[in-house]
């Protein structure tokens, strides 16, 4: 049982590792567009800070049993995710132009059996958070105080009832190895009354809401200690239907 967030020791950048500024060009290899709207990049900053400064994952050891786990539950619009994985060296950037094609491992929804560094196949909403609960339980049973689990969901994805089964159980179980990153672009037709963070705190989670474009604020929220509780970070970005 962790009582404080351990120090972060992400892998050092290798020469081929690219910085945040390279991500738009990598995304363009998939989309063919020079610029991307807010919806396409809603996860970009949050993912980058997570992979650059928080997650203990190494592209040369994508199957390391002791690695942190990042589960992309919201599998729709994975260009930012693929761009970050390519920038971190999980697969070559020359995979990106094939995005969605028959010969490419990079689909419009990711498949864990095809892409190094991808922990789950997703696309159908509401599967990642329950899988993350099981992953956190499995890691706790096998490797106490070991790897941490992160799962990214969308604000509208939280409509799915399976998430609420997972949120309530994880809070009751005090599953402090579990972290949920909610990308909130106000896309839910019927958002929870009281806001997203309060949905988590009502279930016994630690929760923070931050500007999803502010890298320092994201980092501070990601690394805030949450002894005995799972932790949620709600990253607010531009509304999808502005």
């Amino acid at each position: 049982m962790t009582t404080a967030t351990p120090p972060h020791t992400p892998a050092p950048r290798s020469p081929e590792n690219l910085g945040f500024e390279a991500l738009p060009a990598l995304m363009s290899l998939m989309t063919g567009d020079e610029k991307h709207d807010a919806a396409a990049t809603s996860t970009l900053d949050a993912l980058w800070v997570l992979y650059d400064r928080v997650l203990r994952v190494r592209p040369d050891r994508p199957g390391d049993p002791g690695r942190d786990r990042f589960l992309l539950s919201k599998g729709h619009g994975p260009m930012a995710y693929y761009a970050v994985l390519a920038a971190r060296g999980f697969f070559p950037a020359d995979w990106l132009p094939g995005f969605g094609s028959y010969e490419s491992p990079l689909g419009h929804h990711p498949d864990r059996t095809l892409v190094p560094g991808v922990e789950i196949g997703s696309g159908s909403l509401g599967h990642g958070l329950p899988l993350a609960v099981g992953t956190a339980l499995g890691l706790r049973a096998r490797r106490p105080a070991g790897p941490r689990v992160w799962v990214l969901v969308g604000d509208a994805e939280l409509d799915e009832g399976s998430n609420h089964e997972a949120i309530d159980f994880a809070g009751a179980a005090g599953l402090d190895g579990l972290h949920t990153l909610v990308i909130d672009n106000s896309s839910a037709s019927h958002p929870p009354p009281g806001g997203i963070a309060s949905r988590f705190t009502a279930a016994g989670w630690s929760a923070l809401t931050v500007d999803g474009r502010d890298h320092e604020a994201l980092y501070a929220a990601y690394t805030r200690p949450h002894p005995g509780r799972p932790h949620a970070v709600v990253a607010r970005v531009e509304p999808k239907h502005a």
Binding site: G63, D111, L129, V133, L137, G138, A141, S162, E165
Partner: protein, 316 residues
């Protein structure tokens, strides 16, 4: 004699002591049977409450860490309700696990249709790679459960998944009088008819009613405590002979569930197949299991009538 469910709790509780890879996930139902094991292994006996989507999702997540998850509840809440979770959280992730159901098709008739799952095996047939065991006796259940829990050892023990060994064990309150020497693979020949005699495939707890039904008839009886993979070779061998093979499938769930598998096994010869099991139409009756068995035409007398009228063979 203990029930299959009691045997499940006692055997898997012992296996938890022996195998650190094993974890049990429950959704309230069956939690009493694992109370002592939960005290010894609080991290590996998880009761998620009445949350069946989470039951399966947690099992899938455990499998991603190299654990061997064992999921248990009534068949209707294990297979039917969270079906997409089974499809995606195990199959699509390329991982494995063990599903252990109770209740079957008519174990609790007084409970009504909400607690009956006659379609569970047919549903799993739409997915790839599920082994399906339907034990007919608690001793058989123990053998099949031990095999299922030991499966999937091909994983890397902590990295990605635990192999793709996906197993469904369908426990029932209905049993045969004595156990058969099942291994978890293929059908057993329990009665051999004459050359060219019809073959009756009896699944799990319907073996005793079938044996009584064919008393004095010239028929081969194959016993299937493991129905998937379907033992095509055993069926072909049983019906080898002159004339078109006649096959009767007797299954304790939706009639015709294995008809396609049997037809595929005999695709290269003209043949006739009769698929018997529970009816598709809702019975809307309570009562006892014996009454439901008779209502579905699965009691010995009904079975004998249906088998003989299909084969048009007179009693000898």
């Amino acid at each position: 004699m203990d029930t299959m469910r009691e045997r499940f709790a006692s055997v898997v509780s012992r296996l938890l002591d022996e195998d650190p890879r094993l974890a049990v996930v429950l959704a309230e139902i069956g939690a009493d049977g694992f109370r002592r094991a939960a005290g010894r292994h609080p991290d590996r006996v998880v009761n998620v409450g009445i949350r069946e989507q989470l039951l399966v999702g947690v099992g899938g997540g455990l499998a991603l860490t190299g654990m061997r998850p064992v999921l248990h509840t009534f068949a209707s809440f294990l297979v039917e309700r969270p079906f997409e979770q089974l499809k995606l959280d195990f199959g699509h992730q390329g991982t494995g696990g063990v599903l252990v159901s109770a209740g079957g098709s008519y174990d609790w008739p007084a409970g009504g249709f909400t607690h009956m799952a006659p379609g569970d095996v047919a549903l799993l047939d739409t997915l790839d790679g599920w082994t399906v065991h339907v034990p007919g006796h608690p001793d058989e259940a123990e053998t099949l459960l031990r095999r299922a829990c030991a499966g999937g050892a091909g994983g890397n023990g902590g990295g990605d998944g635990n192999g793709e060994d996906r197993v469904y064990v369908r426990l029932s309150a209905q049993t045969n009088a004595r156990p058969r020497p099942v291994t978890g693979e293929g059908f057993l020949t329990v009665r051999r008819g004459g050359h060219g005699a019809p073959a009756v495939v009896a699944v799990g707890p319907l073996l005793d009613p079938v044996l009584e039904a064919v008393r004095g008839l010239d028929a081969t009886v194959l016993y299937a405590a493991t129905v998937r993979p379907f033992d095509a070779a055993a069926l072909r061998a049983a019906v080898a002979g002159p004339g078109a093979p006649e096959v009767v499938l007797v299954e304790p769930y939706l009639a015709g569930t294995s008809t396609a598998a049997a037809a595929e096994a005999l695709a290269d010869v003209p043949h006739r197949i009769l698929g018997l099991g529970t009816a598709r139409a809702e019975l809307r009756r309570y009562g006892t299991a014996a009454e439901h068995l008779a209502a579905h035409g699965l009691d010995p007398r009904s079975l004998r009538e249906r088998i003989t009228s299909f084969t048009a063979r007179a009693a000898v």
